[in-house]
Symmetry: D2
Amino acid sequence: MCGIFGIYSPTKNNIVKKVYYGLYALQHRGQEGAGIAVGNGKNIGSYKGVGLVPEVFTNKELQNLYGHIGIGHVRYSTTGGNNIDNCQPFVVNSSFGNFAISHNGDIVNSALLREELEKNGHIFISTTDSEVIAQLLVRELLKTDDIVQAMKNVSEKLNGAYSMLIVYNDMMIAVRDPKGFKPLCMGMKNGEIYFSSESCALDIVDVPLERDIKAGEMIVVKGNKVKSYDLPNKAEKSSTCMFEYVYFARPDSTIDGISVHEVRRNIGKILAKENNTDADVVSPVPDSGILFSQGYTEEVGIPYKEVLIKNRYIGRTFILPTQEERDLAVRLKLNPVKDMIKDKKIILIDDSIVRGTTSKKIVTMVKKTGAKEIHFKIGSPKIVSPCFYGIDMATKDELIASSRTDEEIAESINADSIQYLSIKGLIEAIGREDLCLACLNGEYPTDVSCKLCNNNKKIKNK
Amino acid sequence: MCGIFGIYSPTKNNIVKKVYYGLYALQHRGQEGAGIAVGNGKNIGSYKGVGLVPEVFTNKELQNLYGHIGIGHVRYSTTGGNNIDNCQPFVVNSSFGNFAISHNGDIVNSALLREELEKNGHIFISTTDSEVIAQLLVRELLKTDDIVQAMKNVSEKLNGAYSMLIVYNDMMIAVRDPKGFKPLCMGMKNGEIYFSSESCALDIVDVPLERDIKAGEMIVVKGNKVKSYDLPNKAEKSSTCMFEYVYFARPDSTIDGISVHEVRRNIGKILAKENNTDADVVSPVPDSGILFSQGYTEEVGIPYKEVLIKNRYIGRTFILPTQEERDLAVRLKLNPVKDMIKDKKIILIDDSIVRGTTSKKIVTMVKKTGAKEIHFKIGSPKIVSPCFYGIDMATKDELIASSRTDEEIAESINADSIQYLSIKGLIEAIGREDLCLACLNGEYPTDVSCKLCNNNKKIKNK
Amino acid sequence: MCGIFGIYSPTKNNIVKKVYYGLYALQHRGQEGAGIAVGNGKNIGSYKGVGLVPEVFTNKELQNLYGHIGIGHVRYSTTGGNNIDNCQPFVVNSSFGNFAISHNGDIVNSALLREELEKNGHIFISTTDSEVIAQLLVRELLKTDDIVQAMKNVSEKLNGAYSMLIVYNDMMIAVRDPKGFKPLCMGMKNGEIYFSSESCALDIVDVPLERDIKAGEMIVVKGNKVKSYDLPNKAEKSSTCMFEYVYFARPDSTIDGISVHEVRRNIGKILAKENNTDADVVSPVPDSGILFSQGYTEEVGIPYKEVLIKNRYIGRTFILPTQEERDLAVRLKLNPVKDMIKDKKIILIDDSIVRGTTSKKIVTMVKKTGAKEIHFKIGSPKIVSPCFYGIDMATKDELIASSRTDEEIAESINADSIQYLSIKGLIEAIGREDLCLACLNGEYPTDVSCKLCNNNKKIKNK
Amino acid sequence: MCGIFGIYSPTKNNIVKKVYYGLYALQHRGQEGAGIAVGNGKNIGSYKGVGLVPEVFTNKELQNLYGHIGIGHVRYSTTGGNNIDNCQPFVVNSSFGNFAISHNGDIVNSALLREELEKNGHIFISTTDSEVIAQLLVRELLKTDDIVQAMKNVSEKLNGAYSMLIVYNDMMIAVRDPKGFKPLCMGMKNGEIYFSSESCALDIVDVPLERDIKAGEMIVVKGNKVKSYDLPNKAEKSSTCMFEYVYFARPDSTIDGISVHEVRRNIGKILAKENNTDADVVSPVPDSGILFSQGYTEEVGIPYKEVLIKNRYIGRTFILPTQEERDLAVRLKLNPVKDMIKDKKIILIDDSIVRGTTSKKIVTMVKKTGAKEIHFKIGSPKIVSPCFYGIDMATKDELIASSRTDEEIAESINADSIQYLSIKGLIEAIGREDLCLACLNGEYPTDVSCKLCNNNKKIKNK
Ligand SMILES: Nc1ncnc2c1ncn2[C@@H]1O[C@H](COP(=O)(O)OP(=O)(O)O)[C@@H](O)[C@H]1O
Ligand SMILES: Nc1ncnc2c1ncn2[C@@H]1O[C@H](COP(=O)(O)OP(=O)(O)O)[C@@H](O)[C@H]1O
Ligand SMILES: Nc1ncnc2c1ncn2[C@@H]1O[C@H](COP(=O)(O)OP(=O)(O)O)[C@@H](O)[C@H]1O
Ligand SMILES: Nc1ncnc2c1ncn2[C@@H]1O[C@H](COP(=O)(O)OP(=O)(O)O)[C@@H](O)[C@H]1O
Ligand code: SF4
Ligand code: SF4
Ligand code: SF4
Ligand code: SF4
Ligand SMILES: [Mg+2]
Ligand SMILES: [Mg+2]
Ligand SMILES: [Mg+2]
Ligand SMILES: [Mg+2]
């Protein structure tokens, strides 16, 4: 996923600390690394590191950064290993100007583009798409001084998902790919322009949401001017990632005018309508299942109770149990509450099932605690195809739903029944049709032929 | 508060890693420091540090600890500053044996005891009660070889709250003070004996809860024997801290046979019964208000919605906003969701009000976001007196409720109305009468005259 | 060894940074840990840590310390393991006043004193003599308000070596034990009083040496007054450690009026006089052998050349070679220069031989590099008895010289001959007779019967 | 300066630890950063960091590196700031192969080459010459598969000083620039090939020196084959940096067959011959002046004594004195020994004078300590021109010797007289004529016109 945040202050206020707060509010979009690059119209300073935002940035690091045009990034590690080189922003200092670039989403044809560039003698330091974009941009800037034209040319080469922020000399550029896969919005306050992956980060710095960047739109901010351009390959119809609504975004965000928490409550209600199951209690797998469960409860009246308590302090630095203690691993994160579970018929609601291993552990643990029946309900349809736009799911073979019936899945995870949301129900819950649903129905909004051949691409679960 | 956890393995398994997991599950009881001491029947090794459990203990630290009798502690800083010397367990190596001691709760007369010991030439390294207890214990052990008798003698000198675990040579000793202020329970599995501040930590290591330690009970484990003794000054009637049920304990814990989450739901229901207010939505101040709000909703049918979204990553290392950015401080923790709040009458439920400053900020922020009315409801009665048993509240003068009417409080925090739970309602919700209610009614279960004279004792809010 | 440094500023200047510089200049006396305690007449702040002075103290630590009466300590680890608890200064906050204490040297009867105190119920946190002294002092302070009398009483209980600095309320106290084993000197500048283990640290802060503290002298500084007292058990004749001149002290120090570098050059000359060996080159084992070798050369005219080059960056954090690479270990520290060694008769001079293992490795390495003959000469007499006054040598059994002839020793370390300085020569070189020579002749200046029975006391080499 | 070290093991032993030891022995060539890159014939792993070798590499870092072809680098910061990006080795992973590159020396025309590459759309991450070389190499590798030809082509573009090690797939390549400015030698043991900036690092891993790499030579190691090639622009006559002999190299190294310590002793003797001054004592400014002084003494018979004692623990992390304490700064490093200095005529010998500020502080301090006369003698001729080959001197304007007579210099540094070695004397001392002497006589061995125009290039003193 990743998250990006940027600020342009025409009155040249130092905006570093606010970028920090913005990233802090986007922390849920990536916990592997964080970085900030900030310019004063000429030079660009930057710092990035591995870890959570407050781990990477202490007062010392922030004090070394100063400027009025800044972007930041939180990293969700997909490919590329977890080292500093793969953190963003990617900063380039060159004779024709300095720039810093951060993006979120995956470029489908980046391997091809990289190979082509290497054939022309270009060296890559990292394995990030940011660097590919940077190299393309540099090549275009050699041909034209016009950054707008250069970015348009670059975008014609890119196939995939990218919401992007660029500091270029005394400008800030924001781009959302032609299909608008990933969210990107804009806020304004006191003449300052803000960009953010999610609106919740604008709230946090108390900046009103101006509007979402449109699919295929490029915005250039310079001094007091904010200009909008269309990318040449802007699509007729967007394909915004449905999973942003279902899982990724924070519930207090609004994406393309639609409130995320409302979508999630709707999903719960529709789940209930599509197949109401008799039970004593409706319970989420926290935290992602909470809003679905509340919607479900509202629809059917079965009492809502959290039968699993999540440890608030589960973090990345935890020492994992050894093989013998492996059964403790789920418990350390989620504790089943015996007196709520014992002899109860429980509707348990989670956001999705990818490989099914975690779901199986959870269901089994609740069963062992004494549940009479467990009906597992999923706030999204079956995932049957991999995502090539920035979400690390399993390969097709590993996807539990790709070749199994509901009954088989229920059995394999130890549940008494399983229910997925229908695709129709999902669209109804979100209230828009211009969505990417590729992982649900295999219909990819862009050409992914170069990817599909690698039929067992090895990638981690989200 | 603090939390303690201990394991005795008669078959001499190395129990260090499990103590670590136990502390991890008790992290909510103290985030300032953590420590583990572990013995092999002879020597005691220990490590402690400032920070969260996984920050203090990495593989390196755990590998240096080895033994079959171990105790651990998570520290909630009250008095005494946040340095390592004040972390527990407190370890003593002396010619008549080695011991390690951890406790939770405050000794009311510790300053007196300390003064007395100093008058006899004793030196104190830390400002902890643990060290006072240790010095008393050493004095008693000089008079008698019998550790049980020694501990009894010590307990006669102690006035206050203490749940305590001691490693002494090849024994583990667990003590709960004569009034049972603080929880302490015991689990058993495969012959191993576990002690924990809360039952949720037994769940996490998959150990069945055997029973709670009784007020005024001392348990001595040695080899395969588990013996129970009565403290000489065991009280007729317990006075268990009501705030453990209301706020401190994790909802998946059971204290003295009573489920914490059930108490909290009951509180919500009783709040509703005591004064049902007309509103569009019932919302918690997360996380502590969640269960009250769910109980409330269940009782009255007004929809439950979380209008404040809590940042899951708020931690201790965060860089605080400067003076000008101070209004961001609450937002960074809690984000009000506009479309749920706009023009709504909202019932907002939190656990308690101490000084009222945070409540005021929250209510004001929600008001500014567009709420029509805010009715603030509190899951506990008015706090009118300081706690001397281990909870850092304000001094009497600072307590907003100590000298104000409901109307005055509502006004001062910007709410349209305020409602506290009644003391009667609280007792009903918990379902037991042998509670400490001192901070609510000024009736202290033990002699606190030495404390009350310091009428403006300066202490931080919880 | 350890080193101590202290400053008293009657005009209440903050002296922390100067204590830091002083410790820095005493770093050669201990690299295991460092600490500073500083008082403002009332409270005492302190910080200590494991490592070199600049590793333990960064700006952050120094800024937290503020006051005009301060002492510091560098730790040379003898017994007691290398943890923070065993670092000094040892600070006590008690009802009758605060004090901090640092000393250098070993108390011979500390185990007995400790046992006695424990029998009276005293608890020890560390294994340091400082804590024993502190506990004794506290007991005396209970009996009398007069700190001078209290210190006198304490000193009567102590048997052994101790140069000591104490911050006590608004006073600074400096004590040198009755036999004056360890050095301690005083400087004065602008009304400020300085104490230091060695005069070189006064030079570094540009303070003139006033005089050495006498054996059995106690100095009390308070306001503008500097008073001197005699300890009750002040000895007739001092027994200052001869090894301070030979090895421990920095060559730019002066001890009891005698220049260390001059002593070392004298030693070289006397070595040459006592047994001049024919050779092509005189070479030190750097760094300690350098001055002996220069004196030797001066006497006999054989050219001085450093055939072994010492790595300037050898520090404590180095990753040690594994077993197979063990032969690299000496090389990493000392590199033999082939073209100076090849076919040469070499006089190699070092300060002392304890177990002989390092000497053997060095001699063997130089032999392998092509030396024709190696004549190993030692700037001190044979070590035949352990030291109980603060120097970690081997036990008697491990001392290579305790039961072997010169020929046997030469053979065992692979040298063609060996020569030790005579005791007479040593006394002549130093130019004073009131020395401790116990490790050379077994005549201990104080009663060490309690130590000698532990005939195989296990201690590391210096 | 910087230092490089590399090992190729045809039998595929893991050579990482030995590279570490090699770098350790080269630490004097650079203390700002260290890095190691190691390949297994296919992939290349690497780690680098800011600080000393043992600070950058702990067991953890070394364990993550594994392979049989490895190079390492210690960094001496000239231009480019002290951040990780500017540390070496520079590693490139690309479709036509992986390589890692480390070098020592400065490319005179690197700014031009960089500009040219940027004009072709190349992006630079760091400001190092290594990256320029890497980009050039990649461009050549596109034209030809033959790495030897590619490297030859690259070398034709480079003007300046570079001793270089490259890991390329299953090969190791070592190159010394056409003029042989910087040293580079080769060792062999058990079929393994070693390369090192200085022979002392071979000693340390107990590997015999095979020979020096010749100026303009390229060596390619693959499997068991070691092939030598001539660079196309190999010069007729070398211009090896004379300062390597005078100051940079460790005295136990041999460069192009000439022993460094012998050169330094020779310098001392020739200094004495060129102008013998009457004095009581000859003393070095330690450490660099030691060998000159010993040579001087040998020639004239005036006694050698170290009147300045250098603190062995002066390191990079030291907290600097504030403005008021500034006079302490030199003392903290060097302590003048009063009884050796008082009323003495002293010959003080150092390696060089650049700006003269440090020399002035030292001379003044010794004067204040009581010296009657100070005759300052320098083991190298006057520095009158900047170095463009990797040594950070001052600009011409800042060089104290560039426009002053001996008398003026002596006066400005407070000395009674000053004497520089003559250029003739230097050549005699080294015993070879094919030296770079550019900083002494302004005759640059390569075209430096692009540099000389920047007439006030701002650079730090060495
Ligand atoms: N502050 C928040 N309040 C409620 N939900 C949140 C918050 N932050 C993130 N989320 C949601 O929580 C979910 C992730 O939490 P969770 O399901 O507990 O983690 P996991 O990915 O380990 O299953 C996402 O759906 C995200 O939208
Ligand atoms: N895993 C959990 N699930 C639900 N509640 C929890 C959990 N852990 C702790 N709590 C409860 O959360 C409350 C503390 O959270 P919160 O109110 O958000 O913090 P604060 O003390 O900052 O107000 C306590 O009442 C505690 O019992
Ligand atoms: N700055 C200095 N200059 C010269 N000698 C020193 C200095 N500092 C310490 N010494 C002396 O160096 C010796 C310790 O160094 P060395 O012999 O190299 O170490 P080791 O103890 O490892 O043998 C001691 O004799 C000490 O007096
Ligand atoms: N182990 C060593 N023994 C003797 N000289 C050394 C050693 N290592 C480095 N040197 C020499 O020491 C000199 C650097 O030390 P010094 O003069 O004290 O430092 P500075 O550069 O601060 O003046 C160089 O000439 C170097 O060749
Ligand atoms: S494939 Fe699925 S996860 Fe990926 S962008 Fe499309 S909807 Fe989102
Ligand atoms: S005074 Fe209040 S907080 Fe303290 S123990 Fe009693 S009930 Fe608990
Ligand atoms: S025994 Fe030896 S080392 Fe110890 S104090 Fe006496 S002379 Fe010094
Ligand atoms: S200019 Fe001077 S320092 Fe630079 S390479 Fe030439 S001789 Fe060496
Ligand atoms: Mg989840
Ligand atoms: Mg709360
Ligand atoms: Mg030595
Ligand atoms: Mg020097």
